[in-house]
């Protein structure tokens, strides 16, 4: 072999000599603004302790990701460097997959180098679409869809095999998880709902350790509550929230599936009897999905209606959740996602109303009321507001609730959940061919 002194050669870091097995993790990584990056970051210290850990960043992102983790006990690799090392008989791979374009690069690897797949979103239709668009290969999509056992009606398929139109139902029904299940050495989902839908999408792929694909249901972690903010009062003032107000909150991006209209109608009924009620839409508006500001102007032409805050950073949102007396965490349709807002809302100590569909009922707390989607939704929302007004808790009660929820959340902390992830990786290794 050429020696290190020869020009043009920089040896890669030595393989682990301490008996720890090598684990490659594919994931969006900081500084990418992606929830999956935030997710994996919480587990990295524990993974680095148990494994000889290498993170595989998408081409072009390796440098920025490596700079984010100076002095860390793991390396950040480029896809080329990962590929050049394969195959590695004793290494494992973990794919942190969600339904967004930042995960598309993993499709080039997870079938060839099978590993354990964390499936954050049970529908991966959009991710596959983006992957093909990025590769200028839209015409292959119809065949890809067929490979998952689904047939797109011909009216939606162009002659070249691309999707001419993508009706919303396709995102719900055509999960595009079958091939991923087939290749996987292990699978992780966050909820019973997601698992049942995933099994439906992987209809003919036997799952479970006995079939070489151990499947674990591990909830999304819940981070501990934010410490009290020193400027909470100023932030609340900025949004016009007084001490005596009964604050109703709709937190997060104001997308079209958050039942914003129903909340407005329920509020408009309730506020005639309860003048202290205030409704705040705490997030960035998505006017192309639902023009909530415009609707508020129509319903409250004098300008005394609910407010839309615009984009909030996490700290500001936590302040508002900590003050809200009732938060609405509504979704329809749901794609099986696990809500990150729901646990943050209950840790704020206020009551929370959420839907009884998808994964939402699986997060349990005495502070949560569930409502059913359908014609009676507005009545149910109105009733929950009336119920709140009829029995407003004292400040001390609220503080006690926060403490109880914080303690409950500890069992869902990354540290508490990590052993289950480790167990899944071990199980996958046991059954690997």
């Amino acid at each position: 072999m050429l020696s290190n002194a020869d020009p043009g050669v920089r040896p890669a870091p030595a393989m682990a000599a301490n008996g720890r097995r090598r684990l490659y993790v594919f994931s969006p990584l900081p500084p990418q603004r992606n929830g999956l990056a935030d997710y994996i970051v919480e587990y990295l210290p524990m993974l680095a302790q148990d494994f000889d850990l290498s993170l595989v960043a998408e081409v072009g992102r390796c440098g920025a990701a490596a700079a984010y983790f100076p002095g860390s006990p793991f390396e950040v690799l480029d896809e080329a460097a990962f590929l050049a090392r394969q195959p590695e008989r004793d290494a494992q791979v973990l794919y942190n997959v969600g339904n967004n374009g930042d995960c598309a690069y993993m499709l080039d690897h997870l079938h060839r180098f099978p590993g354990v797949v964390v499936v954050h979103d049970v529908s991966l239709f959009y991710m596959h679409q983006v992957a093909l668009q990025m590769e200028r290969s839209n015409g292959m999509f119809n065949q890809w869809v067929r490979d998952t056992g689904y047939e797109v009606p011909a009216d939606f398929v162009a002659r070249d095999g691309s999707l001419g139109r993508t009706p919303g139902l396709l995102y719900q029904e055509c999960l595009m998880v079958r091939r991923i299940a087939e290749s996987a050495r292990g699978l992780m989902l966050h909820s019973r709902y997601a698992e049942s839908r995933f099994r439906g999408g992987a209809f003919d792929i036997p799952l479970g350790a006995e079939n070489g694909r151990p499947l674990a249901r591990i909830p999304h972690f819940v981070l501990p509550p934010a410490p009290p903010a020193w400027d909470a009062y100023q932030v609340l003032q900025r949004f016009g929230i007084d001490t005596n107000d009964i604050l109703l909150l709709v937190p997060g991006f104001l997308t079209g599936n958050k039942m914003l209209y129903e909340v407005l109608v329920a509020f408009s009924r309730a506020c005639t009897s309860h003048p202290r009620l205030k409704l705040l839409f705490a997030g960035e508006e998505r006017a192309d999905e639902y023009a909530v500001s415009e609707r508020i102007r129509q319903l409250w032409p004098d300008g005394d209606g609910p407010k839309v805050t615009g984009y909030l950073d996490a700290r500001e949102l936590d302040i508002l959740l900590g003050r809200a007396d009732l938060s609405f965490v509504l979704r329809y349709p749901t794609y099986g996602e696990t809500s990150g807002i729901l646990p943050r809302a209950v840790m704020g100590g206020g009551r929370v109303v959420t839907v009884d569909i998808g994964s939402y009922p699986e997060f349990e707390s005495p502070l949560i009321d569930h409502v059913s989607i359908g014609a009676g939704l507005v009545d149910q929302l109105h009733a929950s507001i009336e119920s709140l007004c009829a029995s407003m808790p004292k400040a001390s009660d609220r503080a006690a609730r926060r403490q109880v929820e914080a303690q409950r959340a500890e069992s869902l902390s990354p540290r508490a959940l990590y052993p289950r992830i480790r167990a899944l990786l071990d199980a996958a290794r046991e059954v690997a061919p």
């Binding site: 072999m1 050429l2 020696s3 020869d6 020009p7 043009g8 050669v9 920089r10 040896p11 890669a12 393989m15 998408e58 081409v59 072009g60 390796c62 480029d78 896809e79 080329a80 460097a81 590929l83 050049a84 090392r85 394969q86 195959p87 690069y105 499709l107 080039d108 690897h109 060839r112 180098f113 992957a131 093909l132 990025m134 590769e135 200028r136 290969s137 292959m140």
Partner: protein, 338 residues
């Protein structure tokens, strides 16, 4: 020569065997000695034999899974997938291909378990194909072929630092010079160049060693790791990187060599490219920017035994176009067998 240098020389001499095998097999094919039969290569790693392939289609039979799609040129046509059969998944296909073989080249694997490959080699012998086994002397796979050796089907061939066994007919064809027949190599290169079958220049270094410079259509070497890229390569007939700027190239030889690659359609400097071979990260010796593209000059270390002969590259994001693909427009490899 000191001990490390001697060890290095011995390793290189063993690894250089694929160059000599390629030259010999190409000369057989060129002489018509293979008739209508197919040359078949048994291997457990991804590799190419460009000189033999310039004379004849080759059937590749793999005893380990492969993860890339590479291509051959089709006269007047689009590139087509290089025929590589996974013997475990398609045993009948492998057997049928061996039945049509007139020559079977066996790249003895490094690892101990080569039973599957030995069984395939035995089938080739049954089909009366000529057999040539080659590899490093210390390769763990040799043990699986002891049975064939004991049957007397194979004879040792002079091959410098490598170990080479051949069936009687081939051993005779190799003659006293064995595999390292410099005259054969020089003559073959001249013939192929005259016939425009390969752009190869061979220089005699001494009685036993050559310097080869091979210019090869990079479409013959590009390896696609995804379906989408493979089909773009077939459609465009170019050695493409994918839309993220990731690409892979088969190396013609496992021994250390120099490479010059022309990277085209790059929109920014590529000095920051990641280049990896096995566990090693490589820095280019030079990058020259011209109107044709960026010429990348590389000193390539040996391909570790038992590994695919694959060079992986990723280009800086800003070098990758939004509306097309970068490609490798030209590839030149230079190697000295000494």
């Amino acid at each position: 020569m000191n001990a490390p240098d001697a060890a290095f020389a011995a390793t290189k001499a063993a690894l250089i065997v694929d160059v000599w095998v390629d030259l010999f097999a190409a000369s057989l094919a060129r002489s018509g000695a293979l008739g209508n039969g197919l040359p078949v290569v048994l291997t457990d790693t991804l590799r190419v034999l460009p000189l033999l392939e310039s004379q004849s289609p080759i059937g590749w039979i793999h005893t380990s899974p492969r993860h890339y799609q590479d291509h051959v040129l089709v006269t007047h046509g689009q590139p087509a997938p290089r025929l590589r059969i996974d013997a475990a998944k398609h045993p009948a296909d492998a057997s049928q291909t061996l039945r049509r073989a007139s020559l079977c080249l066996v790249a003895v694997p490094e690892r101990d378990s080569a039973a599957a490959m030995a069984a395939l080699a035995a089938k080739a012998l049954q089909a009366r194909a000529s057999l040539l086994l080659f590899g490093t002397p210390q390769a763990g796979g040799w043990g699986a072929f002891d049975g064939l050796v004991r049957q007397g089907a194979l004879q040792p061939v002079e091959a410098g630092g490598a170990r080479v066994l051949a069936s009687a007919g081939l051993a005779g064809a190799l003659g006293d010079a064995g595999l390292h027949d410099v005259e054969r190599g020089v003559a073959l290169a001249a013939q192929m160049a005259r016939a425009r079958q390969a752009d190869i220049h061979v220089e005699r270094l001494d009685q036993a060693h050559l310097k080869l410079r091979l210019r090869i259509d990079p479409v013959l070497l590009v390896a696609a790791g995804s379906q989408t890229l493979a089909h773009h390569i077939v459609h465009e007939g170019r050695a493409l990187f994918n839309s993220r700027g990731l690409g892979a190239l088969l190396l013609p030889w496992g021994a250390p060599c120099q490479a010059r690659l022309l990277l085209r359609n790059v929109r920014a400097r590529i000095d920051g490219s990641q280049i990896a071979l096995g566990g090693q990260s490589l820095a280019p010796l030079a990058v020259d920017y011209t109107e044709h593209g960026a010429f990348l000059k590389l000193e390539l270390p040996a391909v570790a035994p038992g590994r695919d002969a694959l060079l992986h590259l990723s280009l800086p994001r800003d070098a990758v176009p939004n509306d097309g693909f970068c490609d490798i427009g030209a590839a030149e490899f230079t190697i000295e067998t000494a």
